[in-house]
């Protein structure tokens, strides 16, 4: 397993999956086990991506969805960090609002989609809000827990050196909180994307999620699967970026060796 590079092994695996899928749906001259009307053939879905792209709609839809997810992600992270720090530092306030936050957090956040569409309409605002909410809670709870789990021994060490409150924040609290936040970055990225897409499912006029429900409604299996593949590809790229950012920023951390 060591002789091939990781990338080539991964590509080979994806290729094998696609071939298997192609075979099951009657490609490669084999009898179809899955009806291609219900499950699209990957070759047909890929061709559909080309057609979709040529029509100019693909770029437009991807742009809208990414815009919603990115703005939602950034606002969600910002809001989560600010509120997390605020409540982490203000214990009495935190104790007061905790039950409400827990209640919100245990709500399936996607369930907010219809409410947000009523409030903010079919445009991108309602999707940004949905993205924002899903991300907000992840980041908020991580920030909050991050503050709570600051190592008291490190705080003591800094205090003996003569550190004041600001020094404590700068040398101990913020770095350890950031570790928690960065660790939630990958999850947040995929949450932001799901928020945007689900929002589009529920009610919108453009975006990948919108195009997907429309295609499914028309029983255009090829296009539906084409969009599904696109969403997967986008998610993989975004999560990989998040992972790189995380590895870079957390390079001080020991990496657990789970398997060699």
């Amino acid at each position: 397993m060591r002789t091939l590079s990781l990338v080539s092994r991964r590509l080979a695996f994806v290729g094998a999956l696609l071939l298997l899928w192609e075979a099951l749906t009657g490609g490669l001259g084999l009898p179809a086990i899955l009806d291609p009307i219900i499950v699209a053939r990957p070759s047909a879905a890929l061709q559909e991506i080309a057609r979709y792209s040529a029509s100019g709609l693909l770029v437009k839809d991807v742009t809208v969805t990414l815009q919603e997810a990115t703005i939602g992600l950034l606002l969600g992270i910002g809001g989560g960090v600010v509120f997390g720090l605020l409540l982490g530092y203000l214990r009495p306030l935190a104790e007061t609002v905790e039950p409400v936050l827990v209640a919100f957090n245990s709500l399936p956040r996607i369930a907010l989609a219809p409410v947000l569409i009523i409030a903010f309409g079919l445009g991108i605002a309602s999707k940004i809000f949905l993205s924002l909410f899903t991300v907000f809670f992840v980041i908020f709870f991580n920030t909050y827990l991050g503050i709570r789990s600051v190592d008291p021994e490190l705080v003591k060490a800094l205090r003996v050196m003569g550190g004041d409150r600001w020094d404590l924040a700068r040398y101990v609290v913020l770095p350890s909180v950031f570790a928690w936040i960065f660790a939630a970055l990958r999850t947040s990225v995929s949450f932001a994307l799901s928020g945007a897409v689900v929002g589009e499912f529920v009610g919108s006029t453009s975006g990948l999620g919108y195009r997907m429900v429309i295609s499914a409604g028309l029983l255009d299996t090829n296009r539906t699967y084409a969009i599904l593949l696109l969403l997967m590809a986008i998610a993989v790229v975004l999560v990989e970026i998040a992972k790189r950012v995380e590895d870079r920023l957390l390079r001080w951390r020991p990496t657990a060796i789970l398997a060699s």
């Binding site: 003591k156 050196m161 001080w252």
Partner: protein, 256 residues
């Protein structure tokens, strides 16, 4: 800096009485070793001196004064029993922290860090993160990051406890050299009798919990001392036998 501990008794809210009527005067420039069985309250006493005890967790009787007064603004160093390097800072950056807090100019800071890194033989490891170096190396960084901002008194809690015999002696020698040059007041906790005699001018034996001062010994060994040679001297052996008699009884006794 002078450390005066007067009639200190400490009881944790959980009901454990840790220290009882401990009085100890550490004069400016003195090197005092605190020796006692595990759990007798040595770390607790250092925390009390450093002002780190949480009043919500424990009650303290008596008084602790630094240079006769409160500890406002005094420069204190503390080498903890546990590793307290900041994991997100490299070794060099860890050494910087105290100097940054005390606003030592950047150029001077870099210069000092280089000297200190060399002092404890860590050249080439400046930019490693704590998890990338050995426990002994981390312990050495803990020591020099405290020396870096030139505290007026240093509390040390078994700073060499986790080291192998060789590194331990090397660092003891280093600490002695530094102390002989600077005469910084040092209060040093250990449960290794030979280490206490090697380093200190005075050795304080604490009883088992609740810790009381059982006896204070003067260590009239000549300076400069060499940890690699001293053990062979008859004076060292004689002191060791004498103090061990006291200590043995406390080690043997089951904590109350």
């Amino acid at each position: 800096m002078r450390i005066s501990i007067e009639g200190v008794g400490i009881q944790f809210r959980k009901g454990v009485k840790v220290l009882d009527d401990v009085s100890l005067e550490v004069a400016t420039g003195d090197f005092v070793a605190l020796l006692g069985p595990s759990g007798c309250g040595k770390s607790t006493l250092l925390n009390a001196v450093a002002g780190l005890l949480d009043p919500a967790e424990c009650a303290m009787l008596g008084r602790i004064a630094l240079d006769g007064g409160a500890r406002n603004g005094t420069r204190l160093g503390y080498v903890f029993q546990r590793d307290t390097l900041l994991p997100w800072r490299t070794l060099a950056e860890n050494i910087h922290v105290g100097m940054e807090i005390h606003a030592v100019p950047v150029a001077h800071r870099e210069q000092r860090t280089r000297e200190l890194i060399a002092l404890v033989g860590l050249d080439g490891f400046e930019h490693y993160y704590p998890h990338q170096v050995s426990g002994g190396m981390r312990q050495r960084v803990q020591l020099v990051r405290t020396l870096a901002y030139e505290p007026e008194a240093i509390l040390m809690d078994e700073p060499f406890g986790a080291l192998d015999a060789q590194n331990r002696m090397l660092l003891q020698a280093e600490l002695l050299r530094i102390w002989e040059r600077r005469r910084t007041t040092i209060l040093f906790v250990t449960h290794d009798l030979a280490e206490a005699i090697t380093l200190a001018q005075r050795v304080v034996v604490l009883s088992k919990r609740p810790g009381r001062v059982k006896r204070i010994y003067d260590i009239p060994l000549p300076s400069p001392r060499d940890p690699f040679e001293m053990r062979a001297s008859p004076a060292f052996a004689e002191l060791e036998t004498r103090i061990w008699k006291d200590l043995r009884d406390e080690f043997r006794a089951v904590p109350a």
